[in-house]
Amino acid sequence: MKKLLTLVSLIAVTALLLTACGGGSNGNAKDMLSAIKQRGYILVSTDPNYEPQSFLNTEGKRPSDTKCPSDALTTAEMQGFDVDVAKAIGDDLGVETCFATPSWDAITAGSWANKWDVSVGSMTITTERQKVLDFSVPYYYTPAVVAVAKDAGITSLDQLAGKALCAGTSTTYETWLNHGDIGLPASSIYAQAPANITVVSLDTDQECAQAIASGRKDFVGYVTSDTVVDANIAAGMPVVKLGSPVYSEDLAAAFDKSSALDSTSLRAEVDKLFTKMHSDGTLTNLSMKWFKADLTQAPH
């Protein structure tokens, strides 16, 4: 019995020791920018489900001297266009860039409880999201397209009427399919969603493409960004783009309005940086590197 008790307490102590080095506190600074500089790292949320925007670098080794909290990833463990843009923000502020990886709907919902500072995750600026989030100036623009299964025999948007279509949960694609207000200027919207469609919302856009590739027939197509469909096709998935883009999105960094820290000065800093990166061609270079196309020119 004594032995058993010793064993149990040993396990408990080991377990505690294993995790003793977790979690950090935010300090007491009211201003987010100075808080970030004080702790020496900026915590950026991005959803590593999307290549080439943001995905894991499976060969990357976490540096031993990193300041990042234990449940955040370092720049070595992530890669992609968004990741490079986030890194540029960290470099500009002179701090390390760390990545938090919550699910996408947790990012768009706001109320981040200061679990991360900023989202650099190709987020579309919409009126709905502006109620809970503050946005920077856009850092690039992507056209949204409808993709359909190759064997569906569909060649125009009108033929989709009455059919089922798929989109990722809490994406603007889902809102567009539901005929909701995606909150973009009218000049950015090129087409309305087909009538009487059934919307299937899956965890991410990627599940839509994979469901079609695996031979499921729950929906004939899906809506996502042009770049994602390009990646899907490049990966050999049996899908085709349906005509021209349906709308164009302004993608920006986002900040939580309900944050306990004041993000005004950080937002100004990020705006200044993005404007500079637009004019000196840094963003164009990054876009060419990851998308093989310049997506940084405003469409309207």
Partner: protein
């Protein structure tokens, strides 16, 4: 000098019967192992992607598996860590809840039954999100790992309290009476007489719960902050459009993990049942 011939040992009828029984048992174990191997081969064949004798099989992208299995395996330590922490918390809570359930003091009894009822009456998936989303309003921002451990520990603690209660109830009344006759206080009776005997009943099912918990730790990845097996599998799977392959790799690791745990559970069970004869 005449050497004495060693007498040829003559086996008794009983020894012969015993040996025959041992042989049969050994043969049975060998046959079981061979059948396992055959079943395993059938599963591997089903995932070969080849069409043999007109049977369709499931094709997997071998390149993806080769390039990413090591990365996915990197989540094993996190999975084991969550499971160890959660089972520690769960055992502690279960013991308290079981003792509370045996209490004659109404508020304590109520607290214990209320806890078990509330936790068993709601899904684990929901509880994980609850601790992740609700606690920040109280100013408690737990790292993803701790929110997960809290949810798993509370959940399994509720289930395991029933096991502990049954264990305590299995100690016969005579033991209590004997302890009382020796002049032990109720606390001493519990500590020295009842709990050691109750543990013998409670430990094997606890091992079973631990195995189940190891797999339920996959749910903790839903919040996105715990980079364990399931999280790693879904992320690389999605980004490279190979969800199925990634999930199968994770499945293999969960299986291996539970095979190892089952082996240890078997050892503990054998040890605990020694006193039964």
């Amino acid at each position: 000098m005449a050497a004495f011939a060693e007498p040829i040992p003559q086996k008794s009828q009983a020894e012969l019967l015993y040996e025959a029984q041992l042989r049969r048992e050994r043969q049975f174990r060998v046959n079981v192992a061979l059948s396992w191997l055959a079943l395993l081969l059938i599963i591997i064949f089903l995932f070969s992607g080849e069409k043999i004798l007109g049977i369709k099989t499931i094709g997997l992208n071998g390149t993806f598996v080769r390039e990413n299995w090591l990365f996915i395996a990197g989540g094993l330590s996190e999975t084991i860590r969550i499971s160890l922490l959660s089972i520690t918390l769960a055992t502690f809570l279960a013991l308290i809840a079981a003792l509370g359930r045996l209490s004659k003091f109404p508020p304590i009894y109520a607290l214990s039954t209320f806890y078990v009822s509330l936790i068993r009456g709601t899904p684990l998936y929901l509880q994980i999100f609850f601790f992740f989303l609700a606690l920040p309003q109280l100013g408690i921002v737990l790292p993803g790992l701790w929110a997960g451990v809290l949810a798993l520990g509370l959940n399994y603690g509720a289930y395991m309290s029933e096991i502990f209660r049954a264990g305590i109830a299995s100690v016969s009344k005579g033991q209590h009476e004997a302890a009382m006759a020796l002049g032990m206080t109720p606390g001493q009776t519990m500590r020295r007489i009842v709990i050691p005997q109750a543990l013998r009943f409670a430990i094997p099912p606890t091992g079973n719960e631990f195995i189940a918990m190891t797999k339920d730790s996959a749910l903790v990845s839903a919040t996105g902050f715990v980079h364990e097996l399931m999280w790693r599998a879904t992320k690389v799977g999605r980004a490279q459009f190979n969800n199925l392959e990634a999930l199968i790799v994770a499945a293999v690791f969960y299986w291996i993990l539970t095979l190892i745990l089952s082996y240890f559970q078997g050892l503990i069970e054998a040890r605990m049942s020694k006193g039964d004869r």
